[in-house]
Amino acid sequence: MNTLLDVQNLSKAYGSVQACDRISFSLYPGQILGIIGESGSGKTTLLSAIAHQTPSDSGQIIYRNSANQILHINQISESERRQLMRSEWGFVRQHARDGLRMKVTAGANIGERLLDIGQRHYGRIRAESSEWLEQVEIPGHRIDDLPGTFSGGMQQRLQLARVLVTRPRLVLMDEPTGGLDVSVQAKLLDLMRQIVRSLNLSVILVTHDIGVVRLLAHRLIVMRHGKVVEQGLTDQVLDDPHHPYTQSLISATLVP
């Protein structure tokens, strides 16, 4: 099996703070890779460096696109990167407001991504938007409402629909369940699990919630102070943690 993404020795410093220190991992198609660690461990910086939104200081990010070409994310042009972000990659933000356009309707939020990849037929775009609303369990009659009128959980599901409508191959998620009520989280987790399976998506999921990675992630990376301290299959890392930091992280969790 070919890897979809290879991250090699990725480093990023903010002044004297090493936010990411020589991070390496490979991601395979259909896999969900969880990245856990406390606030300030560098996990969000890592995600943003992979998407080149925060350019890294050194290291490689190698992506195999749908045409089976090898792309070096930090060497391709800005427009190629933008194109990739609109089509094969998706980014789900912790705060739905950062990932949505709050001044346009729910339907337009989804349709906009389709316009980005060149769809022009209004009727089809609207039909696909309403299909995705249904998919993420937002009532169809809300299609012309602004996202600001939605609950937090609905906004997050709308963001998911906006990202997934272009059928990306790689989705980066930053704390997608953060700030949601537990009951709302379950709904989002179930949707994410179903959609990942049916679209054979690969996901990098940054979270501090061990329960979320236990249920969703195939593999796990534990970060601390910008370094990977431990990695393995999710059940290996959570049931048989080796590193002192991972052990304290898991023993501090109420329901691991």
């Binding site: 099996m1 379950a186 179930d190 249920l215 195939h218 393995g232 290996q236 049931d239 048989d240 052990q247």
Partner: protein
């Protein structure tokens, strides 16, 4: 040491070779427990092995190591996977995931699920992952649920609110639905009543007849003596001994 697969026991399907595994509790003064000290086992199709011994003797650690749930410190775990020998201790994560889909099943004592997903979907998931069509997989699971006397009104509900015995039957259906060549059983009857214990005994017998190799921890002496034809005894601070 069988560094080459040519020296693996003929006709076997799983071979654990001199496994060592200890635990270091860094947050409790760095105390180190050596648990497995050179445990070896060769398993053949149709065998049902009982891992026996007192609490803390290492049987559970051994079984979890065979599933690559625990990472061993030393030793090799060779598994016949789709006609090839694979050493779990050196496999890449995605290889282990694949081996778990097609070759190595596990009946856990825990059922961790996303609330909202029905018992039927939870139990059909591994079979669907192995490439079986959804409707076929669900039909297989329904027949197992029926066999295990799981009331049909529960099938569409999330197992999060089920009793221990109901959860255990979902776990059993989940693993027994798939034709794994190797099946690991962690106290599969601990929460079951006599009637359902009997069903599980029958299911295990059927698996053996089909050539499945089973390795389990059974606290129920009667179940153990009826289904197991081999035993591996663990004792505190000693190497495991093999009998039968």
């Amino acid at each position: 040491m069988p560094r080459s697969t040519a020296t693996l026991p003929a006709g076997s399907i799983l071979h654990a070779h001199k496994l060592y595994k200890g635990f270091t509790l860094h947050n409790q003064g760095g105390i180190h427990f050596p648990v497995l000290q050179g445990a070896s086992l060769a398993v053949h199709p149709g065998d049902c092995w009982a891992l026996t011994g007192a609490s803390g003797s290492g049987k559970s650690t051994f079984m979890r190591s065979l599933y690559a749930n625990y990472r061993t410190d030393q030793g090799e775990i060779w598994v016949q996977h789709q006609g090839e020998w694979k050493n779990l201790t050196t496999c890449e994560p995605h290889e282990i995931l694949e081996i778990r889909i097609y070759t190595l099943g596990y009946v856990s004592q825990f059922l961790r699920v996303i609330p909202r997903v029905s018992a039927l979907d939870v139990a059909a998931e591994p079979l669907i992952d192995s490439g079986v069509e959804v409707t076929v997989a669900q039909a297989k699971v329904r027949s197992l649920f029926e066999l295990l006397n799981l009331p049909s009104r529960l099938w569409s509900l999330s197992p999060t609110t089920f009793s221990g015995g109901e959860k255990q039957r979902v776990n059993i259906a989940r693993a027994f639905a798939v034709n794994y060549p190797i099946l690991l059983l962690d106290e599969p009857t601990s929460s079951l009543d006599a009637a359902n214990r009997e069903v599980v005994v029958q299911l295990i017998q059927e698996k053996k007849e089909q050539g499945c190799a089973l390795i389990g921890i059974f606290h129920d002496e009667e179940v153990k003596s009826r289904v197991c034809n081999r035993a591996m005894a663990f004792s505190l601070n000693e190497e495991a001994t093999i009998s039968g």
